[in-house]
């Protein structure tokens, strides 16, 4: 229940679940209800997910970018949250709506506040990603592949 353990736990969660795709590992980190409080462009924005729903979210993201890697930049822990800035990279090998796979790398950056309960389990997030940057890369790759 201290700031250090939350940062360590969050880093492991990102590594295991999002980077390595070990979806069952999520059970050790998630509260029963996880709310996507704010996340413009995210299909689950405003929704509260149970662990099965959360795993679907990870699965969908990894289907398009199976080698995706979050590279954590900074973590700030305060009150009930941990703020995390990150860089992200993945190879676009699965189709996305309007953007068939090109096999090319995509880069993204973002900032997220993760919320924790008293047992240090994740209860949700507030996130901004540079989705315009991603869109521009997808568009460029699509044009180049035509």
């Amino acid at each position: 229940m201290n700031a250090l353990s939350r940062k360590t736990r969050l880093k492991r969660f990102i590594e295991l679940v999002w980077n390595e795709g070990k979806l069952d590992a999520a059970d050790g980190y998630l509260a029963g209800a996880y709310t996507v409080v704010h996340d413009p462009g995210d299909p689950w924005e405003g929704m509260t997910l149970d662990p099965a729903g959360f795993k679907d979210r990870v699965r969908l993201s990894r289907a398009a970018f199976p080698d995706q890697q979050f590279d954590v930049q900074e973590m700030l822990a305060d009150g009930g949250g941990v703020a995390m800035t990150w860089l992200w990279a993945g190879t676009h090998v699965g189709d996305l709506p309007g953007f068939p796979a090109t096999g090319k790398p995509i880069h993204m950056s973002g900032a997220t506040i993760y919320f924790f309960d008293d047992a240090d389990r994740l209860t949700g997030h507030w996130q901004i990603t540079d989705r315009l940057g991603v869109y521009q890369q997808l568009q460029r790759n699509l044009t180049a592949s035509r």
Copy 2:
């Protein structure tokens, strides 16, 4: 030099400088060198500004949206930084490249880590804004005004 005072100082800085446009108030908050470490789409990304340069940055932003208001959501202080999530709104009354003024409201959200020196002065930021959301609103307003 404590976390509480940094949050209070940051909130006052946002209010005075960004919301009220009192540019000279920035001198009480800025270090001599302010680095825009990461801020996709920002014209000053990667640059280090002196206070005069910083004021130009605020001035340009407020020229297009003179009534702009940052509504601070959460602040997390840890180490040398304060993470801040925010909502923003402004009326588009000044021309932007490709987007002449429409007089319509624009909304945005973002997350920023502000960095401080030992004297609690701002030395820079790492920021993500939802610029795709802004672009979509500008595009929609432009189409509607034609």
